[in-house]
Symmetry: C2
């Protein structure tokens, strides 16, 4: 029997007799035969893999995100090559190149950005130009928002609604902690903060006592503690789950109480927020949905959609629990 017949049998090619197919498959199973994927990829130019780059594998965000991606890729028989940049532009570049050399059919990435504003936008442009689809999620490149397919949330709007809620509760001096303030998401969240200040005529001129911009690091714990100790605010908004945890830790350490001494609104929801003391009022991103949508956009491209870039913006939701209360 010729190789081509075998190939056709195994790939359920239409022009093959049912009987031959059966026999081939049986033999294959018996011999424990497995196709050598690289030969197939070499021939067909499709590896059936997509590169998934996360920005920090320790962030619980990626549990739901990856779940969303996997669930939409699996039925289409695409596999994930997982990479993590750890918010390091160089490492991200390394992985992008590696993924390319593994012949991925597409790339999903939340691009990072260092303190000098350096990104891998040019590398990603080049890749896109060679015909390998790229979908950004969580973050896009500032000033080039429409160049790539992307799935993000309305970050400014999310903070705005949190600010509105606090304002309604009577808070006039509201603080915010911005980690990694060079990131797109954080910039947008800060923008929402400023908009809200203007809209509700809140004082935010004395920035240092209301806005903490330190990057995520070891020293951040001390900075946050200091920030809260000198607090000139009655309510505080965080911009990710890690910071929420640090705020709870600091408040506890300072012998203060949430929400009596300080109202807090966290960012990113995880089930654990329910069990915090007190349960955290948070801005919840539809993380699973972000994963699904991102993967679907990519599949669309892989299926040959070739229109102008899709820019999907999902909405975050304010989940009211016990950490933010009316001011006395």
């Amino acid at each position: 029997m010729s190789p081509s017949t075998v190939s056709r049998a195994l790939n359920d090619h239409p022009r093959i007799s049912v009987e031959t197919k059966r026999r081939v498959k049986e033999a294959a199973k018996e011999l424990g035969y497995f196709a050598f994927g690289s030969a197939r990829t070499l021939k067909t130019k499709r590896s059936m893999t997509v590169g998934v780059i996360v920005s920090d594998i320790r962030n619980p965000f990626f549990l739901d995100f990856l779940d969303g991606v996997e669930r939409t890729l699996f039925p289409r028989r695409y596999k994930m090559l997982l990479a993590t940049s750890n918010e390091d532009v160089e490492k991200e570049a390394t992985y992008i190149k590696w993924l390319l050399e593994h012949d991925v059919d597409g790339i999903i990435v939340s691009p990072t950005c260092d303190k000098d504003g350096k990104t891998n936008i040019n590398l990603l442009r080049k890749i896109k130009k060679t015909g390998i689809p790229v979908v950004l999620y969580d973050r896009v490149f500032e000033g080039f928002e429409n160049e790539f397919d992307s799935v993000t949330i309305d970050n400014a709007g999310a903070i705005l609604s949190a600010m509105k809620y606090l304002y309604t509760l009577g808070h006039k001096r509201i603080g915010i902690i911005l980690a990694s303030s060079n990131l797109y998401t954080i910039k947008k969240r800060y923008q929402g903060y400023l908009e809200a200040c203007e809209l509700f005529r809140l004082d935010c001129r004395n920035e240092d006592t209301l806005v903490l911009k330190s990057p995520l690091s070891e020293e951040m714990d001390a900075e946050i503690e200091d920030f809260i100790r000198k607090a000139s605010f009655t309510a505080l908004i965080t911009t990710n789950h890690t910071i929420t945890k640090k705020v709870y830790k600091s408040v506890k350490k300072l012998g203060m109480k949430i929400p009596n001494d300080l109202s807090v609104i966290g960012f990113d929801d995880v089930e654990e927020n329910l069990f915090f003391d007190p349960p955290v009022t948070v801005i919840r991103q539809p993380v699973f949905q972000i994963g699904k949508t991102t993967a679907m956009l990519l599949l669309g491209r892989l299926d040959g959609e070739d229109l102008k870039p899709h820019r999907v913006v999902l909405n975050a939701e304010l989940v009211k629990r016990k950490s933010a209360v009316p001011i006395e």
Copy 2:
């Protein structure tokens, strides 16, 4: 210039002049050249990828685990093909086959097991026999503990030490919740429970009111609530983080208080445990270390170590916080 010269230049082959190498690399960069990995793999029989199968991508366990794996693989230029079985033996088998067809150089897996005891042990055996190394982590196959390389923790010992702690605190009736009691880890934890009962002469004959074996599912919330309502125990041990959360939820719902009405010891530590009300006393697995060790074992095999199977057993640690107190 011939293809072979280019190949040698790009791969830092020794027999090539410095000048030629420089020129080739320059040209490659300029043209945005990327090697076509599948052709290389086809020729060399090494894909530089390893398949990583997790049992449930939503479990926070895998954040630290994957971090550990990635950090040891990255410097060696191995990439991860990520798969998730969702505790489904069939899905696991599908992924194993897919990974094989992607020519992975090795596989890391925490094998799942359905309610009838069915596993993919035979499939994994076959793979090992073809020369592709397999390393198990978190779980091994009962009765075949020494057949594969593996990295686990001393599950029985972990529960035993928790029981000892509770016993020292004066607890005589201690309950335990076993989700998915067909899994290796859970069986071992139950075994530790029984050993402790014997050792400390605790009554555990009336199993139904002390041991809950229900599998993880939607209905489990109700079952746990029921279990706690009818509690004949003064202290309760859980066997994973999800259950810990459910216990906290149920206790709250029932209007009871931890630790006054019930002492609780959780399983698996996450930073959030610090902020629970009250902070959770837990058995902490060295998850990051499990990831590192698993990946290192695999790298060893990939480097040609070919001795008898390595069986690494790490120790868990009891982290004392506020959810378990002496009985009045």
